[in-house]
Structures are given as structure tokens and as C-alpha cells.
């Protein structure tokens, strides 16, 4: 809904404001588009490398095995077994998370506890591996210090809280 009205309104506003400020809109836009192309070429190898590892990990069955191994911990933390794949896939892959979420909603029901938890995880956390390889790759930073570990720990803690306090939202 918001993108239907917001995007054209925003572009309209930017163009009129720029024109008003005496900017050569066409030339400046082309200049920006050039940057856009360069950026994608810069980040392409980083994306490919990261997606390669994620695909090998997922499609070899390692992710499923991981989920099985985590079952005792999940029972302890009160995480419904149905949503474990969602917690693990969300930091790795956006499209993967969408298909896992849809799957959970179909299996348990869209308004079930599992379905709502999956929706909340989908909307409240980012594809961390993608973001990190994209942003740090674009400027050539190799030592990312605690960026990944903090984002992952925060994601897991927030998922545990959501699973335990889901009754608030239902």
C-alpha cells in the first residue's frame, strides 16, 4: 500500500525540489546511475561467495541436521520445533526465509502460534550475512570485528523472547 503511493510521490517531490534548486536533473541522475552500476560490480563477487556457502550449507542437508541437533536446546528454551528452521534461515537468506515462513504457515495455520512467530521473525530481523557481505564488501573492509556476532546473538535472543512471550501478541 505504502509503496503504491509513496514511491511516485517521493520521486515527484525529489524531481520538483531539484528542479527548483536549479539542478540539471537528467545529468545528475545519469551520474548516480553510473555509481549504481559500479557498486553492483564491486559487490557481485562478495555476494556470489557468500551465497555459494549458504547454498552448499542448506542444500547438502547440513542445515536440517543442525536443526535436529538443536532440538534439546530448543525444548529447554521453550521454542516450538516448527519455527526452528525460520530462526536459522533468516540471517542467511531472504528468499529462503520467505519460503520457510510460507511453509510454516501452511503446516500449522497462518494464525497459529508458529505462524505468528514466523511472521514476527520475518519482519523484525535482517538477512545479516547478506547485509554484512554487501556493505563491508563495497568498501573493502575485511576485519569486521564484532558486527556479525552481535547481530546474530541479538537475533537469537529476540527470537527466544518472541517464542516465550508470544501470548502478549495473540
Amino acid at each position: 500500500m505504502i509503496s503504491i503511493y509513496f514511491v511516485p510521490a517521493f520521486i515527484l517531490f525529489v524531481l520538483i525540489y531539484s528542479m527548483f534548486k536549479g539542478i540539471k536533473v537528467y545529468e545528475v541522475f545519469v551520474d548516480g546511475a553510473k555509481d549504481g552500476f559500479k557498486t553492483v560490480f564491486n559487490i557481485a563477487p562478495f555476494l556470489l561467495t557468500m551465497i555459494f556457502a549458504i547454498d552448499v550449507f542448506r542444500r547438502s542437508g547440513a542445515l536440517d541436521l543442525f536443526i535436529k541437533l538443536l532440538t534439546p536446546i530448543n525444548n529447554l528454551l521453550n521454542i516450538p520445533s516448527g519455527v526452528v528452521p525460520m530462526i536459522l534461515i533468516k540471517p542467511l537468506s531472504g528468499s529462503g526465509a520467505i519460503s520457510v515462513m510460507t511453509d510454516i504457515m501452511k503446516t500449522y495455520g497462518v494464525d497459529s502460534t508458529e505462524g505468528v512467530i514466523a511472521a514476527l521473525i520475518m519482519g523484525s530481523s535482517e538477512t545479516i550475512f547478506y547485509t554484512i557481505s554487501l556493505y563491508f564488501g563495497s568498501i573493502g573492509v575485511k576485519k569486521i570485528r564484532h558486527a556479525l556476532i552481535v547481530a546474530l546473538i541479538a537475533h537469537i535472543i529476540s527470537c527466544i523472547i518472541v517464542c516465550n512471550f508470544i501470548w502478549i501478541f495473540r
Binding site: 505504502i2 509503496s3 509513496f6 525529489v14 525540489y17 534548486k21 539542478i23 536533473v25 545528475v28 541522475f29 551520474d31 548516480g32 546511475a33 549504481g36 552500476f37 557498486t39 553492483v40 559487490i43 557481485a44 555476494l47 551465497i51 555459494f52 547454498d55 552448499v56 542444500r59 547438502s60 547440513a62 520467505i98 494464525d111 505462524g115 505468528v116 511472521a119 514476527l120 520475518m122 519482519g123 523484525s124 530481523s125 535482517e126 547485509t131 554484512i132 554487501l134 556493505y135 563491508f136 563495497s138 568498501i139 573493502g140 573492509v141 576485519k143 569486521i144 564484532h146 556479525l148 556476532i149 552481535v150 547481530a151 546473538i153 541479538a154 537475533h155 529476540s158 523472547i161 501478541f169
Partner: protein
């Protein structure tokens, strides 16, 4: 960190497939490579367009206008950055605003530009600065005013009230953000 995780993901993947679940690796590799290239090609066009719009915002001074609205929270989250490189903050604001509106394609060029500006004042060029890490952390909480994809999937699957997820999603995002900022403050001491 990324080195180790990347290494372990592939090693585990290959070992698991050897012992548990033989799969056609050549096929996985080929499909993975193809999907990455497809992603990059689809990114090319949309990134070019949003980068064009971004350049207009930058050149016309519009980003300063947006920044003025979010100046206080930015000053708290990124202390002293305003004196070091104000442009970085402009792009950070635009990135966060686009993410909030669910325009992730618009957010990416702004985010990359913000990283480039932060890199200019970074002393060790191969190492992430405190500002960059905080920026990534804020991004990873993914605060979105309207989670459009989730709502449309819920509607498709016949939820009794698809958009009732909006409030809880914002609440959880904000919670995640505060948890992340808190953990970051602790970890910062160990990762100098």
C-alpha cells in the same frame, strides 16, 4: 570471523552430504552461481535507478532536510560523527528512512554511500570502525513500519487479520534493536 564461518559452512555442507545425504554437488554449485548472477543482474537496474534518485537528493540538498528531522536520535547513536563527517549521517538517515518504509532497494545505495563516507574517516582501512558496526547493527534490527511482504503472504493464506502483525513486528524490531545496541556496547571492549 567471516573467514571461519564461511569455511565451516562449506566444510560441514560437504561432510554432511558425504555421510548422510549424497547430493549432486555439481548441480548445487551451478545453480548457486546462476542464482547469484541473476540476483546481481536484477540488482543492476534497480540500484542504478535508486542511485540516480539518491544523487538528486544529495545534489539538491534534500538529504540535509531529512537529516534535520532525525538529528537528535542520530547524535545519540553516532556520537561525534556530525563533526567528523556530516555527509555520512545524511546517508545513514536516508538508509534508515528507506528501510522503515520497506524500500529495501532504495536503502541499499544509501547504505553503501554511508559506508563509503564512514570509510573516509576510518583510520584502519581494512578494519570496521565503531560507527560502521553500529550502523550494521541498526540495519540488522530491520525496523519496518509496514512489513508488506509478510502481510501479503498472510492475506494470501487466509489470515483472519493479516495486518494485525504490524504492531507486534514494530515492537519486536525495537526490542531487537535495543538488545543489539546493548550487546554491541559489551562486545566493543573485546574487539578493539
Amino acid at each position: 570471523m567471516v573467514n571461519i564461518i564461511w569455511f565451516l559452512m562449506i566444510i560441514f555442507g560437504i561432510l554432511v552430504s558425504f555421510f548422510y545425504n549424497p547430493v549432486d554437488f555439481t548441480n548445487i554449485i551451478a545453480q548457486s552461481a546462476e542464482s547469484s548472477v541473476k540476483l546481481c543482474i536484477s540488482l543492476l537496474g534497480i540500484m542504478a535507478i535508486w542511485s540516480g534518485i539518491m544523487k538528486l537528493c544529495e545534489k539538491s540538498g534534500l538529504i540535509e532536510l531529512f537529516y534535520a528531522m532525525l538529528r537528535l536520535p542520530m547524535k545519540i547513536l553516532f556520537p561525534n560523527l556530525e563533526n567528523k563527517n556530516k555527509k555520512a549521517l545524511y546517508f545513514i538517515v536516508m538508509n534508515i528512512a528507506s528501510n522503515m518504509l520497506g524500500l529495501s532497494n532504495a536503502a541499499t545505495p544509501f547504505g553503501i554511500k554511508a559506508m563509503e563516507e564512514m570509510q573516509k574517516i576510518n583510520i584502519k582501512k581494512d578494519t570496521a570502525s565503531d560507527y560502521m558496526i553500529k550502523f550494521i547493527i541498526i540495519n540488522s534490527a530491520c525496523i519496518q513500519l509496514i512489513p508488506a511482504t509478510v502481510i501479503s503472504i498472510r492475506a494470501n493464506l487466509g489470515s483472519s487479520s493479516p495486518s494485525s502483525i504490524i504492531g507486534p513486528t514494530i515492537a519486536v524490531s525495537i526490542l531487537t534493536l535495543f538488545i543489539a545496541l546493548f550487546i554491541e556496547a559489551i562486545f566493543r571492549r573485546w574487539y578493539k
